[in-house]
């Protein structure tokens, strides 16, 4: 199964990574890589995760992460990696 990319973009506040990681741990999603930058006060994080151990339907996870983002005040997107690799790799 292909990997999933989770991106978090928004105003930097305390505990963003903790909250996202807690959600992922609760749903048996393994985080394989994290990179982050802060551009002009805006928090910008990308995680590569493996969802194959999770029993949660993919669509549900997308929606729940979106809701979690709303609660923290950031934008969280959860997308299958293929959309990026197809576009940026030949």
């Amino acid at each position: 199964m292909s990997k999933t990319i989770i991106t978090v973009v928004g105003k930097d506040t305390v505990g963003i990574i903790a909250k996202v990681c807690t959600y992922l741990a609760d749903n048996q999603v393994n985080v394989e890589d994290i990179s982050q930058t802060i551009v002009q006060g805006y928090f910008n994080m990308m995680m590569i995760v493996d969802t194959s151990g999770s029993t949660k339907p993919y669509a549900e996870m997308v929606t729940e992460l979106d809701d979690l983002g709303d609660a923290i005040g950031v934008r969280i997107r959860c997308q299958r990696e293929d959309i990026f690799t197809k576009m940026h790799r030949i």
Partner: protein, 454 residues
């Protein structure tokens, strides 16, 4: 491994530059639905469409959610109904019943358009085909989601001028039949030359007889993405300009190819083609006119417009062809007026006439598309415009199309609202000189000399 910059670039394309997959179109052959009894035919058609398309919309939504890319439309195209209904339909009224069946199937499947209420009469018309064509005004007035197309010429066959004459009348009758609704029926009726069998875009989509039983075709889009990329190379030479379009088209098409393969796998229906077209929408920033203006034109329609469009069309193909294993359909830039805010603005500021649009159709993938014209335009004039476009298609070995809307009760300077993706359009002036004697000659224009390649 993919990096954060690449991820951000893709998501910026989707969120800010309106990158989307314009349509997943499920092509369905209805040839095995033929029956001599009209009720049985309608039942067969409804059953086959609903059996094959039952998961189309939900699968589209699933892919949309998982990859985070909008898939704007899920649609269906079917075998030209003139062929399918031939045995059962003995009159135009019988064909209208088939149109109603298609409409019901589309509504029940949750798709916004179903294409294929069509006839291919490039060289001649059978009585069935003529009956279908004559039923178009009533069929489009009686249905909501059915799209109709008639192919009246090709490079191989020449132009069927009897059909051209008839279609001028049919376009007018369709306008009259739907005049309570701004002659909206004409927005769902396109007259083609060199129509492709695998076009996923409406209104000209149909499932050609060269196709398999069912197939998934995908139409990509992304004018906003190309425009944004060009804004980054202002003042650079044409080599840089062309490379930028090409690379961006590659990325846009890869997204379409991925969606097509996923949809094909999940639905268990073979992948047909990706159509590389740049399809604008009325929303700001999703405009092909905007791309041409980003190249350095004060307004689309200015001198240089045709050259700009030619290079855009060519570079989109060059970038897109490598991104997809199978390319087909119309593949190029669409230049509808009502569906592109930049085109509408250009018409309103007096920069863009029908004649300039006609020149542009020589170098892009379609034709005179979604243009509102005065409601009193004679049928012969509409036929003349159709003949001109067909001649461009026939001579240049390309698809051309005419989707004109003679808006009953409206004249030049007024605006007409079609709603949704169909947008709104200023009524444009049409050349008032008469071509009736030319159109009334009857017969056909022979195929051009360069079509004889055997």
């Amino acid at each position: 491994m993919i990096n954060i910059l690449e991820v951000n670039e893709t998501n910026k394309m989707i969120e800010q530059e309106k990158l989307d997959v314009r349509t997943i179109t499920l092509g369905i052959s209805l040839l095995d639905c033929c029956d001599a009894d009209l009720d049985a035919l309608n039942r067969n058609i409804y059953d086959k469409i609903t059996r094959l398309a039952k998961d189309l919309v939900s699968t589209g939504r699933e892919i949309e959610l998982e990859y985070g890319i909008p898939i704007v439309n899920k649609r269906i195209s079917v075998t030209p109904i003139a062929l399918v209904g031939g045995r059962a339909c003995r009159s135009p009224e019988d064909f209208v019943e088939v149109a109603k069946t298609l409409d019901k199937a589309a509504r029940d499947m949750g798709v916004n358009f179903i294409g294929g209420y069509s006839a291919i009469v490039s060289k001649g018309m059978t009585p069935n085909e003529e009956a279908l064509i004559r039923s178009i005004p009533a069929a489009l007035a009686a249905t909501e989601r059915v799209c109709s197309s008639v192919n009246i010429g090709s490079t191989k066959t020449g132009i069927n001028m009897d059909a051209v004459k008839l279609m001028g009348e049919i376009v007018r009758e369709t306008a009259e039949a739907t005049k309570e609704n701004n002659s909206l029926g004409c927005a769902k009726l396109v007259v083609l030359c060199n129509a492709p069998d695998d076009n996923p875009f409406m209104a000209g989509a149909f499932h050609g007889v060269s196709e398999a039983d069912a197939v998934i075709n995908v139409g990509v889009s992304g004018p906003g993405v190309i425009k944004h990329a060009l804004e980054g190379v202002r003042g650079e030479n044409f080599e840089v300009l062309c490379e930028t379009v090409k690379k961006t088209a590659f990325k846009v098409t890869r997204a379409g190819q991925l969606v097509a393969q996923e949809a094909s796998e999940r639905l268990g229906i073979p992948f047909g083609i990706v159509d590389l077209s740049l399809a604008p929408t009325p929303s700001v920033g999703d405009s092909v006119a905007g791309i041409l203006e980003a190249m350095g034109l004060e307004s689309v329609g200015a001198p240089g417009t045709t050259a700009a469009l030619a290079l855009l069309n060519d570079q989109v193909k060059k970038g897109g062809i490598m991104a997809s294993s199978f390319v087909g359909g119309l593949s190029g830039a669409f230049i509808p007026v009502s569906e592109d805010q930049g085109m509408i603005d250009a018409v309103n500021r007096g920069a863009l006439t029908i004649e300039k649009l006609e020149a542009m159709t020589c170098v892009c993938s379609v034709g005179l598309d979604m243009i509102a014209i005065p409601g009193d335009t004679p049928a012969s004039t509409i036929s003349g415009i159709i003949a001109d476009e067909a001649a461009i298609g026939m001579i240049n070995n390309k698809t051309t199309a005419v989707r004109l809307i003679p808006v009953i009760g409206k004249d030049v300077g007024e605006t007409v609202e079609f709603g949704g993706l169909l947008g709104h359009a200023p009524v444009q002036e049409v050349n008032r000189f008469c071509c009736a004697d030319f159109i009334n000659r009857g017969g056909r224009i022979p195929a051009p000399v360069h079509s004889f390649k055997n």
